[in-house]
Subunit: 355 residues, 2 copies
């Protein structure tokens, strides 16, 4: 991963406090309620009239990422994005972040600095204050644990549980790209492992690679919906795959849903790469995961307000619970939606558990 | 670790959502500001007039704990305690917690349930609402990442930076016990590895073992000091060893300190076990770490209010920065305090870096 070891600094030379000092030297405070950030037993936030949202995600080497093809800077950025995505899915604005890292001994100061540079780039982009964290060694791989705090005006948070029959089902952006990006990276890794002289062939795949390696959370959607005077009744982010998320909304809102295959937003480059890889683009969109788009429902009467918006695609609607959750294929057949998305505990979920 | 595998449930049978459902089934909400806990993209807290404190700690198998001698239930309890200790060191009250676990495939449902039972026991004891977390697999060991949120009346938080010359330096409880407990466990482990037929000999060591395996955070100190009308000027929890913490207070308050060896509170059982292990009890108290007691400073004029209190020991006083931080030994010699406490990044800190 790091070819030139001549001038690299080992972490044990530096010690925990030395490393923390270095990493936190340039932290800026962006929000007035951040009274005290890094440097004490705990961070201190002033009270605000806003409700707070809290989310946490853990990324584990070998489970969530492969350092063989994941640039550390992108990884740091992504670790923040995936948490910001959860905050965006609550209709909230991200504010403060706690960053914990468990680093194996192969990590040099230069490597940690790359990772941290990505984290800080994301903090700048999403306007986050880094207010705390923990840094330790790990006996094996890298573990990144991020906790994110956001705020939302009282009563404005959007939960998974508010969808009603006849609501329109909307998804942002496009789906399946991150999964295709992962397949390309895995393919090139396999070729490289077989013959290290062959250089990876990733040219022209920028879009799907960026979707996998450096996803952007949809913090643009909350202000967009506000401007359009659209109020989502339920919302979730698409991390495990569209099918899985539709089923979560249905379960928690006690409703059913119909999704139309023909309306699934799939970028042309995702579509083409899927075909080249002999994958069904629809399956990639439904079960690929890691898209970090937002899936939400809006009342039918607000449908006209989002029509034609390039960021938003109506993919179906909500039905009574008894109808279950279905996909209507391009040929018109109706099949039950099944959560076959990625599952970090290892089991593909069976359809009968979810309906 | 788990002898009888006949009726154990593998985590992959259960899946991530099944595991989360099982673990979070019995969660209670104790605090009115917890508007929405586990089950959405993020937790939701109502605004309060209080300031908030935030802390996070990561515990890594093989670095922070050894599952060969650490009961999972105690480990879960300790993971919460060490974070509560940071909140207590801010003069704050713990309220909400986020629990993230990375589990290796050797973990069965029964093992995770034990760990979680310890976490929940600590949450009951410290009156915490579990409002979120993440559960994933790990390619190797267990990683526990806890984020804790506390609250404190505006202006009442106690930072590390408020100590003034002539302030009295006070520590709660006694020191060095957790380190001695660790040495005993490591000794018995070494004997067992050499000869698995020899049963561990840990009888009569309850106090130091409990100090290591199931520490209690000093949430009793904030109300005690309030009742005594004592206002700490600075505070920190003793996690890395007393020397290290005194140096932190000195650095952040820009002061020096004198600590008297003869005043260091050491429990008789810690003292005796240290002697049996050929360890210097003073060194254990200064550098042992993991005591999770509180170290704080109070104005000289409040000294009389704490005199004779069985929970509080005056161990020295604050001096101007130029005087540095010193230990006065029982024989009257003065030596510079050196942070030789445990360091998860691996380097013992050199004295010249700290003064």
């Amino acid at each position: 991963m790091f070819e030139d070891k001549r001038s690299l600094t080992s972490l044990s030379e530096l010690g925990e406090f030395g490393l923390i000092d270095l990493l936190t030297r340039e932290l800026e405070t962006r929000h007035p309620e951040t009274a005290k950030g890094v440097g004490d037993d705990a961070a201190l936030l002033d009270p605000t009239p806003m409700q707070q949202v809290l989310t946490t995600d853990m990324l584990v080497e070998g489970v969530h990422f492969d350092l063989m093809y994941t640039p550390l800077r992108h990884l740091g950025y992504k670790a923040i994005s995936v948490n910001v995505s959860d905050i965006a899915a609550m209709n909230a604005t991200p504010r403060q972040v706690l960053v914990s890292l468990a680093l194996s001994s192969k990590f040099t100061l230069e490597a940690v600095s790359e990772l941290y540079a990505g984290i800080l780039a994301a903090c700048r982009n999403y306007k986050l204050d880094v207010v705390g964290g923990d840094t330790t060694t790990s006996k094996s791989g890298l573990v990144i644990s991020i906790t994110l705090i956001g705020q939302v005006a009282p009563g404005k948070a959007v939960l998974r549980s508010g969808a009603k029959p006849n609501d329109v089902l909307v998804v942002t952006g496009d789906l399946g790209g991150a999964y295709i990006g992962l397949q390309l990276l895995e393919r090139e890794k396999a070729i490289f492992l077989e013959n290290p002289k062959i250089q990876p062939d990733l040219e022209g795949h920028d879009y799907v690679l960026q979707r996998q390696l450096k996803p952007e959370a949809r913090t643009d959607i909350r202000p967009l919906l506000e401007a359009l005077e659209v109020t989502p009744t339920s919302m979730i982010d698409v991390s495990d795959g569209l099918s899985s998320e539709v089923l979560h909304l249905c379960k928690q809102s006690k409703v059913g849903a119909v999704v139309y295959e023909e309306h699934l937003p799939i970028d042309p480059s995702t579509y083409e790469r899927a075909r080249e890889l002999n994958l069904d683009p629809t399956t990639c969109a439904l079960n690929g995961g890691e898209d970090y788009e937002l899936l939400f429902t809006i009342p039918l009467e607000q449908h006209s307000r989002i029509k034609g918006n390039p960021h938003l695609t109506v993919i179906g609607h909500i039905t009574p619970a008894e109808a279950g959750a279905h996909l209507v294929s391009k040929s018109g057949t109706q099949v039950a939606l099944v959560a076959q998305g990625w599952n970090p505990i290892g089991k593909e979920e069976a359809p009968e558990e979810k309906d």
